[in-house]
């Protein structure tokens, strides 16, 4: 109560709000009770899940179904009803290889080159991303000066659009870019980063790590802060060495967060397209051509827009992603058990 005897404004506001909520909830009471009578207590779970299932069905499962159907048809028409059924021809074409380890021996050599580049990119990027994010999280978890500032700085690139990130780095790395300016200022020769396959892949991985590391650092940081401090105090009292603390306390307790990071990094890496496409255009030659770029070009960039072949390639990519995620989760569960 205030001095005048009337209730404080905040309480007034709260009581208005709660009355409003009660009124709205009251409106739902009768229909919900009616539904509960109709479907029973157990059925209510499905009623609450229904909107989400509907949303997923419409925007995830239905497109997957259409994509699957599209992959079994040929021609250049857009609508399924106007496309001839050709069975598994596109899949057979994609799988037609002398050796899967040699993309040049395959009928769809660009697809296999894309698969090979994507696997290479994923491997390098996962190691670099998880390693850098982990080290950064460990450092930012310590009581260092300017900790808040550094947390913001590492997170900032995550807020940028991938296309913006790629364009900024393209300007830095091109023939007359900032980096070559610095190199020539130091007396060196200009390096044509986008003409050498090794350099192009290196920068594709580097830029991707630079842009997304902040997000994964945040997940790991949250995990680190959830580890009880008394464990570290006990270890300190026992005189445990820092490396042993890391391997015996920090990493095992951080494992669930690491699994999340690994799965997310893996999925994002396999799906990589925009950043690398803008940065290197898939070149030099096909040195950084990713499988998603192949799908995009097959479906949209060629004069003959081969939606069927692109759909078949994306089904194969989806299957690969699914298998890799399952494998990773299985390993994580085994380790946890």
């Amino acid at each position: 109560m205030s001095e005048t005897g009337s209730p404080p404004r905040a309480i007034l506001r709260d009581s208005h709000a709660s009355r409003l909520i009660q009124a709205v909830a009251g409106l739902l009471d009768r229909p919900m009770a009616w539904i509960q009578r109709a479907v029973g207590g157990r059925g209510m779970a499905y009623v609450f899940l229904a909107p989400n299932i509907l949303f997923f069905g419409l925007f995830v499962f239905l497109p997957i179904g259409i994509n699957m159907a599209m992959s079994l048809t040929g021609g250049t028409n857009l609508f399924l009803s106007e496309r001839p059924f050709i069975g598994g021809d596109h899949y057979r074409g994609l799988m037609q290889c002398g050796s899967y380890l040699d993309p040049a021996s395959c009928r769809e050599d660009h697809f296999w080159k894309g698969v090979s580049n994507t696997l290479k990119f994923t491997l390098f990027q996962m190691v670099a991303m998880v390693g850098t994010a982990l080290v950064t999280a460990l450092v930012l978890n310590r009581k260092i000066r300017g900790r808040g500032f550094f947390r913001a700085v590492y997170f900032f690139p995550v807020l940028l659009s991938p296309v913006v990130v790629a364009l900024i780095w393209k300007w830095i790395l091109q023939r007359d870019g900032l980096l070559n300016g610095a190199i020539t200022l130091a007396g060196g020769e200009k390096i044509l980063f986008f003409v050498e396959p090794g350099w192009a892949m290196f920068w594709a991985v580097f830029v991707s790590v630079w842009a997304h590391m902040g997000f994964y650092t945040l997940i790991l940081l949250a995990g680190l802060q959830a580890i009880p401090a008394d464990l570290y105090e006990a270890a300190e009292m026992d005189g445990t060495k820092p490396m042993r603390v890391l391997t015996r306390i920090t990493l095992p307790l951080l494992w669930p967060n690491l699994v999340v990071v690994l799965v997310l990094v893996l999925i994002k890496a396999v799906q990589t397209f925009d950043e690398v496409f803008v940065l290197t255009g898939g070149g030099p030659g096909t040195a950084t051509l990713m499988v998603v770029q192949y799908i995009y070009e097959t479906a949209f960039a060629n004069q003959v827009q081969n939606f069927g072949l692109a759909a078949a390639a994306s089904m194969l990519l989806g299957s690969l992603l699914f298998a890799l995620t399952m494998l990773q989760l299985w390993i994580a569960r085994r380790k946890a058990a």
Binding site: F79, A104, V195, G285, T288, Q303
Partner: protein, 425 residues
């Protein structure tokens, strides 16, 4: 509310319903711009709208890439605009509206756009009038004259060969430290600007693409060899993959290219952006063993079959393609005319500098030197399939990933596969 109020309300509603604003038809035109043509087109459309208050035309300007990649998907879904400025005439022919039944004077269209209408028609159709040409383009070299003068190297003459130009440009680049002695846009169309002069035909009597012929092979070999010898830099053809376009206009504007193979559509842009930073000229297409021909091309506006207002579309097109309006369009945009009547009379280009006017003259003369094979390739419905396969695979050969023989084998396979896919019914 009494009866008088009701009556007044009904009268106001009736007046609004019958006003011209309510009766207006809105048409959409998808457009892209290389230079100032978007502004000029808007100005001309404003004039059309003033004379035809019942029709409003919205100009949707999109990037060039969207014209080739997004527009076909839109059209296939039946969701496209009423008109569009396009370059892939053969590829989009099936979506084009035949304006003939709605035109006041179809004969004039036949007379002035005849050869180009063939590019826009579906195979087998000999009568449709799908649109008109906003420009005729010709590939050809643009030369940085100042760099040649600084290096003390003589500019090769009118009948110079590709080899003469390659040697001269390399000598200039070595002396003035220009990183790109010879630059070609990474485009199949520009590649054919070289290939036709080497004797490439590529289209069989049945209208289907043939396997790579000797002329095509010679041109591909030249491109690869020039990259190996440093005449061309890998940054253009070797640094990206697939069918990605990569122009060298920025490099030319920055005076890094002595010899730039592009085309007539760059003139307006260079006239404005290069200004008096350096002197540049257009040169006749270098000669190969077969001829001294470049490649024709161009852009045009077509009506779209799915439009709900074909008569209004034809009315707009009739206005835009009329001789005085189109002549003004060419004059203000510095485009080579794609209208036979205007081309014969000549265009009084407005605001063009002396060097731009001279360049336009060179490209205008180049039209007369075009080989019939060049027209045949450009007008073929499958041409972009061949163009795309060529840049994708020759790009790989330039990057050192595959040998030239493998590149040719892959081009043949890619073209055959895509032609088969397109013809699946």
């Amino acid at each position: 509310m009494n009866r008088r109020h009701w009556l007044a309300g009904a009268l106001v509603a009736a007046a609004l319903a019958s006003s011209p604003v309510q009766a207006q038809t809105t048409l959409r035109m998808t457009w892209y711009s290389d230079g100032n043509e978007g502004e000029v087109m808007r100005d001309l459309l404003n004039r059309f709208e003033a004379g035809n208050p019942g029709i409003k035309v919205v100009l949707d300007t999109v990037p060039f890439k969207a014209i080739n990649e997004n527009l076909p998907v839109q059209l296939a879904a039946g969701q496209g605009p009423d008109m569009a400025r396009i370059v892939d005439f053969g590829g989009l022919a099936k979506f084009a509206l035949d304006l003939r039944p709605h035109l006041a004077n179809a004969g004039a269209w036949e007379q002035n756009f005849g050869p180009f209408l063939e590019w826009m028609r579906e195979p087998g159709n000999t009568t449709a009038i799908p649109g008109y040409m906003t420009q005729l383009t010709v590939t050809g070299p643009l030369v940085n004259k100042t760099l040649f003068e600084q290096a003390g190297v003589a500019i090769p003459g009118p009948k110079a060969t590709w080899d003469d130009w390659a040697k001269a440009a390399k000598a200039v680049a070595d002396k003035v430290k220009a990183p790109y002695p010879v630059a070609f846009d990474r485009s199949g169309h520009r590649f054919f600007g070289l290939a036709v002069s080497q004797g490439a035909k590529m289209i069989g009597a049945d209208g289907l693409p043939t396997p790579a012929d000797e002329g095509f092979r010679r041109a591909a070999q030249l491109i690869v060899d020039w990259h190996k010898s440093g005449v061309m830099s890998k940054e253009l053809w070797g640094s990206v993959s697939g069918t990605a376009y990569r122009g060298a206009n920025e490099e030319f504007k920055n005076a890094q290219v002595p010899f730039y193979l592009s085309g007539s559509w760059q003139i307006a842009q260079f006239d404005k952006t290069v200004g008096n930073a350096f002197d540049w000229i257009a040169a006749p297409t270098p000669c190969g063993p077969a001829n001294c021909s470049g490649m024709p091309g161009g852009a045009g506006v077509i009506g779209i079959k799915a439009t709900k207002h074909p008569a209004e579309v034809a009315k707009v097109m009739d206005f835009l393609a009329s001789e005085p309006i189109l002549s003004e369009f060419y004059a203000r945009t510095l485009f080579v005319p794609g209208h036979i009547g205007i081309a014969k009379k000549g265009v009084a280009y407005q605001g063009a500098s002396a060097q731009a006017a001279a360049a336009l003259k060179v490209f205008g003369d180049a039209v007369a030197a075009l080989d019939p094979a060049a027209y045949r390739i450009q007008g073929n419905a499958y041409s972009r399939i061949v163009f795309n396969a060529a840049i994708s695979r020759i790009g790989q050969a330039v990057a050192g990933e595959i040998a030239i023989d493998d590149a040719i084998r892959r081009i043949d396979a890619d073209v055959a596969q895509q032609v088969a896919e397109r013809n699946k019914k």
